[in-house]
């Protein structure tokens, strides 16, 4: 059976990659000799849950995971981080293991804490530190330390104006991850190798405006205009070093979980809800106050609150429903009409000049065949994800051009990439189909 190597590059975008391919010899050869198509992500196209959707073949509704933090119950405060314990569906490596195939997994978001598998695992970036048990087997962490010293799950202090430092950190993280990948490939047995490098996502968010000449904040005199290309060249060289180590018969796939697009600004979802009378606060908070802090301090008047929201790359909106939330006020018979009214209001929010921004509001029951866990009542893509959702309150405006969590130039786009060393169907592929395609490669199931 031919081996399969899946190299995940978080946030790599098909349009960007086509632009850069002439400067990336390894990826260009792969695309020209095999196939290069778009890969439609899930909704929401966010790192968690997207990678685990890919690895389980289940959508966020089936997994009951809608983002990095999810409601645990219907109280107002209970939110849990989506660790690997949140993903109960069988992953592709579990199925492969049962059929006798060994996997090496490196850095896949949603795999901390690691579970025993037939093979080896180094968890993704939700590991708190290298002091935690972040590998399976545990003793593998000793090898990692010998190979690269302090392994970097992610870039710490990512929201910075010090772009030179940020670029250096991302490069160091990527070099270390690929060094670990090479050592694993060389020294361990495997049939299925899967890794995710988070670096492209970090460089996009941190430096997109320096790269994208159409970005409103682009400055052609910036010393970081070429930093993104420089990073992709590093990635290309690192991928080349892996390809040299793979037996020649190895099938190689390069995939991403979502794409990238410029972020034009942010919309204050909770500030808007306050102004429209859907969210009632006791007093006026200072600018930039986080809603969860106000909830904890009892500063939300739930008796007069119909809805509240959460910020992030997309917005989440929750209704305060009688009999569901502890102090719910919306009668069950009114839920549909209130939700529609709020959704239409959100879609009508213009930019500060009064121009439409093309916000899309999605209903979980229309996105997913089943909505497990506790889904948001609405998913909000401000400006179709060209604007982020700002959850903090106390502002004089609902429009932002500086992020409330620090500088960020990019947001996510719904299409990632799929490159394969073998010729395949030129049409778009689905992220949710990768799971079955991996199994089909190993002669399990039918594939897509």
């Amino acid at each position: 059976m031919k081996r399969l190597a899946l190299i995940g590059l978080d946030c790599v975008d098909p349009v960007l990659l086509r632009q850069l391919l002439p400067m990336l010899p390894t990826l260009r050869r792969l695309a020209e000799g095999g196939s290069f198509t778009r890969l439609r992500s899930v909704d929401p196209p966010i790192t968690i849950p997207a990678w685990m959707c890919m690895m389980t073949g289940k959508d966020p509704g089936q997994l009951g995971v809608y983002g990095f933090r999810n409601r645990i119950d219907h109280s107002y405060e209970s939110l849990g981080i989506a660790s690997s314990a949140a993903f109960r569906a069988e992953a592709v490596w579990d199925t492969l293991g049962r059929d006798g195939f060994r996997s090496i997994l490196l850095g896949i978001p949603g795999t901390f804490p690691p579970r025993p598998i037939r093979g080896l695992m180094i968890a993704g970036f939700l590991a708190p530190s290298t002091d935690a048990t972040y590998t399976y087997p545990k003793s593998l962490s000793g090898d990692v330390r010998k190979w690269v010293g302090d392994y970097m799950f992610d870039v710490r202090g990512f929201r910075t104006h010090d772009k030179a430092w940020l670029v250096e950190q991302i490069h160091e993280m990527t070099r270390k991850r690929f060094t670990v990948a090479r050592r694993l490939i060389e020294s361990k047995k495997w049939d299925f190798f899967a890794m995710v490098e988070i670096g492209p996502d970090r460089i996009h968010h941190g430096l997109w405006a320096h790269h994208d000449v159409d970005h409103p904040k682009h400055d052609p005199r910036s010393p970081f205009v070429g930093s993104l290309l420089e990073y992709y060249r590093l990635l290309d060289r690192e991928v080349a070093t892996l390809m040299e180590l793979f037996p020649s018969s190895t099938e190689v796939w390069i995939v991403s979980d979502h794409g990238v697009q410029p972020m034009l600004g942010g919309i204050g979802i909770n500030e808007w809800l306050v102004r429209e009378g859907y969210l009632s606060l006791r007093g006026r908070p200072v600018a930039g106050t986080r809603l969860p802090d106000l909830i904890r301090e009892g500063q939300v008047d739930w008796s007069k609150t119909l809805a509240w929201g959460a910020g992030g790359y997309y917005g989440r909106l929750f209704l305060n429903v009688e009999g569901r939330e502890p102090q719910g006020v919306i009668a069950p018979r009114d839920v549909d009409s209130v939700r529609t009214e709020i959704a239409e209001g959100l879609e009508r929010i213009p930019d500060e000049m009064g121009h439409a921004i093309g916000t899309r509001v999605l209903y979980p029951e229309e996105l997913y065949s089943t909505a497990g866990g506790i889904p948001p009542d609405l998913l909000v893509y401000f400006g179709d994800l060209t604007w982020r959702s700002i959850g903090t309150v106390g502002w004089e405006t609902i429009h932002f051009h500086e992020n409330d969590t620090g500088p960020d130039d990019a947001n996510h786009a719904p299409y990632g990439v799929f490159l394969s060393s073998s010729v395949g169907n030129p049409g778009d592929r689905q992220l949710l189909g990768i799971h079955d395609s991996v199994l089909a490669h190993f002669g399990i199931g039918e594939g897509l």
């Binding site: 966010i46 790192t47 968690i48 983002g67 990095f68 933090r69 981080i81 660790s83 690997s84 314990a85 109960r88 060994r102 901390f112 804490p113 690691p114 579970r115 025993p116 598998i117 037939r118 093979g119 080896l120 695992m121 939700l126 708190p128 935690a132 048990t133 399976y136 087997p137 545990k138 003793s139 992610d154 710490r156 202090g157 990512f158 929201r159 047995k189 970090r202 968010h205 986080r290 959460a310 910020g311 992030g312 790359y313 982020r388 959702s389 700002i390 959850g391 903090t392 992020n403 409330d404 969590t405 620090g406 960020d408």
Partner: protein, 69 residues
């Protein structure tokens, strides 16, 4: 040094693990059993994945990364 529990397992189970250590990915029977128990207890919610301090640190990091507000 925190207390370690010594648990006796039937020979058949110990031998099965020992014979398949390589396939199971572990180096010792103890390493495999510990990983299995930790994972099972975390899945059931009986063993916390994060300490309170770690959870706060992860949330701070996720805000820093832009995933949360």
């Amino acid at each position: 040094m925190s207390k370690k529990y010594a648990v006796r397992i039937p020979p058949a189970i110990g031998q099965a693990i020992e014979e398949h250590l390589h396939e199971l990915g572990a180096e010792t029977v103890a390493e495999y059993v510990e990983a299995l128990l930790r994972s099972q207890l975390q899945q059931l919610g009986y063993l916390s994945v994060y300490s309170k301090e770690e959870e706060e640190e992860i949330e701070r990091r996720l805000r820093d990364l832009g995933y949360l507000d």
